[in-house]
């Protein structure tokens, strides 16, 4: 992050000039994290095709910084927290997030993922590229479809309606003269 800040100051960009003023007045850049977020925002949303994965190193470090970054720029998909093998790392006790650093907050929200070495499949799993399934079952007209549709609106999921699939299969299994009747075999 320090390199990025220096670069902005050297290039005399609008945010670079603001940071320069802060430094000239003896203030700490990290005390006004909105400027850091602004720098990152310019990079993350630069509009360059294909640039849709970013690693943040050295920022955010405090809960306040992470909250600001997520409010004004982008959600942080995960924190990859590296530890030596077999070493205990972050401990979360109750709801009292007394520590200022972000590890305990992210651990509490299940977004802190520990890794001891590079492994692509573990990494993919940590990023949620593993599908989470849920099932709705109930009597006819009990509200399965309505609730499932409401849920996917909130959770960004997808509804697979087995009744619709069965109907489309029935259409393929029968003919116009002899439509398929009965239940579609499970297999």
């Amino acid at each position: 992050m320090n390199d990025l800040i220096q670069l902005e100051v050297q290039r005399q960009t609008s945010v670079g000039r603001v940071i320069q003023d802060l430094l000239n007045n003896g203030k700490n850049v990290w005390s006004e994290p909105q400027h850091i977020v602004e720098i990152l925002k310019n990079i993350i949303y630069s509009g360059i095709d294909g640039q849709d994965q970013f690693l943040l190193i050295g920022f955010p470090d405090q809960i306040e910084h992470a909250t600001l970054f997520e409010k004004d720029c982008s959600k942080i998909s995960a924190i990859i927290y590296t530890t030596a093998k077999g070493v205990a790392h972050v401990e979360v006790k109750g709801d009292d997030l007394s520590l200022l650093n972000i590890d305990s907050l992210f651990a509490k929200e299940f977004r802190l993922k520990t890794m001891t070495e590079w492994d692509s499949s573990t990494f993919a799993m940590h990023l949620g590229k593993k599908v989470n399934w849920g099932m709705f079952t109930g009597r006819s007209f009990s509200g399965k479809t309505t609730i499932a549709n409401a849920l996917v609106n909130i959770k960004q999921g997808k509804v697979i309606n087995m009744a619709n699939i069965a109907e489309s299969l029935k259409a393929k299994m029968g003919t116009e003269d002899e439509p398929f009747e009965g239940d579609v075999p499970i297999e």
């Binding site: 690693l55 070495e117 590079w118």
Partner: protein
Amino acid sequence: MIGPKISGKNTLATALVERSNAKLLNFNKFCEENDLAGKSDDDVVLALIQQLSQEISPRVVITDFPQTAYQAKFFVKNGVHPHRVFILNCSKDSCQERMLQVPVNASNYLPSSLLSKKIGQYNENLKELLPFLKANTETVEVSSEGSFVNSFKQICASIEPTVISVRSSGSKDATAAKNAIMAGLV
């Protein structure tokens, strides 16, 4: 970003441009400012394309465009492919309910009968527009029926990159692991 009248297009688009360093272009306002009212669809779309070609912002969010399948086809045919099309879904009843909250002297106020007519027109245009957009662009349908926060979350989830923070517990072994993981990630 398209959707029926008072479905939240401008509110959501304003929040989106603020968050993603984009520029907002309100199509209706653009037509007004450039005396395009009453001009043919070809002229209007060409004027918009010209405006976009001069744009220096890397991202532009256009609200209320395209309004018809013809406009969409003409836009794409002339080589402009939007990265995303957000379609706001909001029922007529919810739109009517929202309009009740708008002061009568506000610029976006419409009496109930006129609003109903506008929504009817929008839905009519959507019948041909939606299949074209779905077939030719990355279309994201967003429910703007509920709260702003929920609708905005759906939009953000579609445009935001994957951002990962890499941290270490600080020990020598953990730092070595961090370097190895970073090498794997990059």
